[in-house]
């Protein structure tokens, strides 16, 4: 396992700037999740670290070694792709053996068998080892492709939305599995996802990317509780954070144009009147869609609330974030 350092890394595809001066340190043994919408540069970052693309500018180090002139094979990384990752002409077992048999590793037979068996056990695919890889369900395929990364012991694991094609149950099982692999073996992971739960539950660090720039890097709680901008604040939180004019609830700090309120940061029962538009019972919690001085906002309340559409409820902001006109945090 190793530390990965990106210094001022940039990459363009034609006129399209994918990464624009990203500096990022992935500590040894950490689980770093990159967040951002499509086109933010998440996958490009993975591909640059893996060596599938070369950076236009900047430096990438894996375990203290500058990898600029190394091929993907020499970089000692393992990668799980979002799709198309199993070799269709091989069986499941051959797929899992493939990286171990590479000219770089040349693993002895007994060692291959032991590792493949071990990983198949973890991923619950032992009974499918001799199936053709194309005869698997989508979830099984993705587990095998995660397995193909796990049989190795690389400097860093790179994962590009590996769980996005799986059903909810498998996703939550594999989340726990991946987290425990990282925790138990001290593996370093760089992980791309859209999924907030994946980011919050697995990450030791979250990097927020916006149009090729790293706008915030910190622990998941730090990103959630102390976002640097409107953009970073909207990456995490379900339901999403409410953005309202800064002076809606009274005096605002100088320069602030917007107030950001997480749904749970709206205290009910005191403050000013708002109008309940809709009530969504989700079982473990209930969401209230409120209308406050012609602005819509969402908050959460206790699961067994008796509130219903048309009721009036008093609200007061608590721990609000203030942002200026450019979207940057003021306080």
């Amino acid at each position: 396992m190793a530390e990965v350092i990106l210094s001022d890394v940039a990459k363009s595809f034609g006129s399209n700037v994918a990464l624009n001066g990203v500096t990022l340190t992935i500590p040894d043994g950490s689980f770093v999740v990159l967040l951002g919408p499509t086109g933010a540069g998440k996958t490009t970052t993975l591909r640059l670290v893996s060596g599938l693309e070369t950076a236009d500018r900047g430096r990438i180090q894996i375990g203290g070694r500058d990898v600029a002139n190394l091929t993907p094979a020499q970089r000692d990384v393992a990668m799980v792709f979002q799709q198309y990752s199993l070799y269709p002409h091989l069986t499941v077992r051959q797929n899992l053996e493939f990286p171990l048999k590479s000219p770089i590793l040349r693993t002895p037979r007994a060692e291959i068998d032991r590792k493949v068996g071990e990983v198949a056990e973890i991923l619950q695919i032992s009974h499918k080892l001799d199936n053709k890889s194309t005869a698997l369900s989508g979830g099984e395929m993705q587990r095998v492709s995660i397995g193909r990364a796990l049989v190795r012991n690389p400097s860093v694991y790179l994962m590009d939305e590996p769980l996005s094609s799986l059903d909810a149950k498998l996703r939550s099982d594999l989340r726990i599995e991946l987290k425990s692999i990282q925790a138990n073996f001290g593996a370093t992971l760089l992980y791309v996802t859209h999924d907030q739960i994946e980011a919050m539950t697995m990450a030791t660090h979250v990097g927020v990317l916006d149009k090729g720039r790293l706008v915030q890097f910190g622990s998941p709680r730090e990103i959630y509780e102390n976002p640097v901008s409107v953009y970073a604040a909207s990456r995490l939180g379900q339901p999403r954070i409410n953005f309202l004019p800064a002076d809606l609830f009274g005096a605002a700090p100088a320069g602030a144009t917007h107030i950001g309120l997480r749904p749970e940061h709206i205290v009910q029962g005191e403050g000013q009147d708002s109008f309940v538009q809709r009530v969504e019972h989700l079982g473990d919690q209930t969401r209230l869609h409120l209308s406050f001085r012609d602005h819509d906002l969402i908050t959460v309340t206790e699961a067994h609330t008796t509130l219903k559409g048309g009721d009036i409820v008093k609200i007061r902001p608590e721990k609000p974030y203030f942002f200026d006109a450019t979207g940057a945090r003021v306080t």
Binding site: F81, Y84, F98
Partner: protein, 312 residues
């Protein structure tokens, strides 16, 4: 009543079956006729009305593979009684076998040139198609169009320049010359076909192999090639059929050492009267390699021809 969009009705199935069988009969009859003629006696082969039921003989095959001469009393005496079944057949016609005909050698020429050019075409074609499919090649579209443009006129249109080139380079009537020629003619088709097949293989597989510790060439060899096998097989069949059946260049550029079977078979007619059974026997044997090759690869061929027709 049950109704299905994808499952044809019983009546449609019958209709389709009859259509297919009818078509098979129409296309197979000439083939069967050639094969049957090979086993007829010369008299039966030119009988009118044509005979369908006949006494089979191997005379055509004996005549195909041997040179014979009309036997004189003295020759028969010297040779003694026939010792083999084929000598016996020759004696019945009042001839003695003087040696092997050139058919075997011409047939081997066809095998060497046909399979040799197909193999060369596949190696060059796959490499070129892979490069066009995966790498940033300057002027890629123009180059591809240029390659295709070599197919825009019949190859025989450039017969005279090729003849002159071959003469100056000493390639006339050589195996190498014919292999190079057929490879050159087939290469454009194979580059285009193979590029289509390789385009269909997602590049992610190779990227995965690169990360799994393999070099670019190993990734090509271990990941791309097995998946392109279908395309390579069907392209190889097209190339082999062209090289195997080609007649015009073979007549023009070969006469002895490197002569292939197509220009040789018609010459059998002249050697000792109109020997149709021998010609038919030659044609039958000539059909076998392509048939075997196609049957061996038919699983790939079926998939190959329809491959790429449906966008996933």
């Amino acid at each position: 009543m049950s109704f299905s969009v994808t499952e044809p009705s019983q009546r449609t199935k019958w209709f389709a079956g009859i259509l297919v069988i009818g078509y098979a009969i129409i296309t197979l009859v000439p083939l069967l006729w050639i094969i049957a003629t090979g086993f007829k006696s010369p008299t039966d082969s030119i009988a009118y009305p044509p005979v369908v039921v006949f006494e089979p003989t191997l005379e055509g095959y004996v005549n195909l593979f041997t040179d014979r001469t009309r036997a004189t009393e003295q020759m028969l005496e010297e040779a003694g009684p026939p010792t083999t079944w084929y000598e016996e057949i020759a004696r019945e016609r009042g001839t003695v076998i003087t040696g092997q005909s050139r058919f075997g050698q011409r047939f081997m020429n066809s095998v060497i040139i046909g399979f040799g050019s197909t193999a060369l075409c596949m190696i060059l074609g796959t490499a070129a198609a892979y490069a066009f499919s995966r790498f940033r090649v300057p002027l890629k579209d123009d180059l591809l169009f240029f390659i295709l443009s070599t197919r825009m006129m019949p190859p025989i249109a450039v017969a005279i320049p090729i003849f002159l080139m071959f003469r100056n380079l000493g390639l006339n009537d050589t195996h190498l010359g014919m292999i190079l020629l057929y490879t050159a003619v087939n290469l454009s088709l194979s580059v285009w076909l193979l590029k289509g097949f390789i385009d269909e293989i997602p590049v992610e597989y190779e990227e995965a192999a690169l990360i799994d510790g393999y070099t670019r060439f190993q990734a090509f060899y271990k990941v791309v090639l097995p998946q392109a096998a279908t395309g390579i097989a069907s392209t190889a069949i097209f190339c082999l059929i062209f090289a195997w059946n080609e007649y015009a260049f073979a007549v023009l550029l070969t006469s002895g050492t490197a002569q292939t079977a197509p220009p040789f078979i018609p010459t059998i007619i002249g050697t000792s009267g109109k020997d149709w059974p021998a010609v038919a026997a030659g044609a039958t044997i000539f059909l076998v390699p392509v048939m075997v090759f196609t049957i061996l690869l038919r699983k790939h061929l079926l998939r190959g021809i329809t491959f790429g027709a449906v966008r996933k």
